[in-house]
């Protein structure tokens, strides 16, 4: 490697913007924690008005999905995601946004291969590998039940 190239690489490395890990983590912790806290508040609320445990289990994620979809549609979710990073990605809000945002962006390409296909660009792999893992576990669980 030439001297200039080495010097250049060193220069690039120095001036490449390092994302401040600690600050990023603090934001992710705060935003992610808050979304989960909202989930818990909803859970308490739904249980409080006498809904069954099964219903509450289904309704809490659905509620967060609905809220995420609204925020995505009015363009606020992007700003929250920019601030919260993984704090918005990891909760079910990240999954919902990954479905809703491509739907809005790809509608113009058509309802079938535009919106219809693109909504699964991230949700597809998540559902695929999650379901596969659960099938494998199901078989193992069944075999273990035989003994």
């Amino acid at each position: 490697m030439s001297v200039q190239k080495a010097a250049y690489l060193k220069y690039v490395e120095k001036s490449a913007k390092k994302s401040p890990l600690v600050l990023d983590c603090a934001k992710a912790f705060f935003v992610g924690g808050s979304i989960c806290m909202i989930g818990q508040l909803l859970r308490n609320l739904y249980t409080g008005i006498g809904l069954s445990e099964e219903t509450v289990k289904a309704l809490v994620p659905s509620s967060i999905v609905v809220m995420t979809a609204i925020l995505t549609a009015i363009g606020l979710f992007d700003q929250l995601a920019k601030f919260g990073g993984a704090g918005t990605l990891v909760p079910i809000s990240g999954f919902a946004n990954a479905v809703v945002a491509p739907a809005i962006d790809n509608k113009a390409e058509g309802w079938v291969l535009g919106l219809g296909a693109k909504i699964f660009i991230i949700a597809g792999p998540v559902i695929l590998y999650g379901t596969l893992a659960s099938v494998i576990y199901g078989v193992v669980y069944w075999v273990m039940g035989l003994f």
């Binding site: 890990l21 990023d24 983590c25 992710a28 912790f29 935003v31 992610g32 924690g33 808050s34 979304i35 989960c36 806290m37 989930g39 818990q40 859970r43 308490n44 289904a58 809490v60 994620p61 659905s62 609905v66 979809a69 549609a73 363009g75 990073g85 993984a86 704090g87 990605l89 990891v90 909760p91 079910i92 990240g94 999954f95 919902a96 990954a98 479905v99 809703v100 739907a103 809005i104 962006d105 790809n106 509608k107 919106l115 909504i119 991230i122 949700a123 792999p125 998540v126 559902i127 590998y129 999650g130 379901t131 893992a133 659960s134 099938v135 199901g138 078989v139 193992v140 669980y141 069944w142």
Partner: protein
């Protein structure tokens, strides 16, 4: 009150771990989500995730590892009730509400809002 605090803390920790992965590795968000869901299934299978759910409630079920937990729990229940066929039906049945709401809301949102120039 205590469970709300634990939901905040555990949910926050799960997100912080992902943030560290985003900042220090080249993992794309999609890969992180897949890793979280599969980890959720695995951790539930070996019995490590259930205690976290008991402690932190939504702090453990709202993150995508909780999606994996729901898949695994659904499969357990279906296998107990219906035998081996439950391995094929349990996962998606248990997660149907979240997935279906996402799909329906996506079409709804696409109907009412327009893509903005980036």
């Amino acid at each position: 009150m205590k469970e709300i605090l634990y939901a905040f803390l555990i949910g926050g920790v799960l997100c912080t771990v992902a943030q560290i992965l985003v900042d220090t590795t080249k993992l794309t968000p999609a890969r992180i989500l897949v890793a979280y869901v599969v980890s959720g299934v695995l951790l539930t299978a070996i019995g490590l995730y259930e205690p976290i759910v008991k402690l932190a409630g939504a702090g453990a079920t709202v993150p995508l590892t909780g999606f994996g937990y729901t898949l695994a729990k659904g499969v357990e229940k279906a296998v107990e009730e219906r035998g081996l066929i439950g391995a094929l039906t349990g996962g998606l049945t248990a997660t149907a509400a979240g997935i279906t709401t996402s799909l329906a809301m996506a079409v709804g949102a696409a109907l009412i809002s327009r893509s903005k120039p980036k």
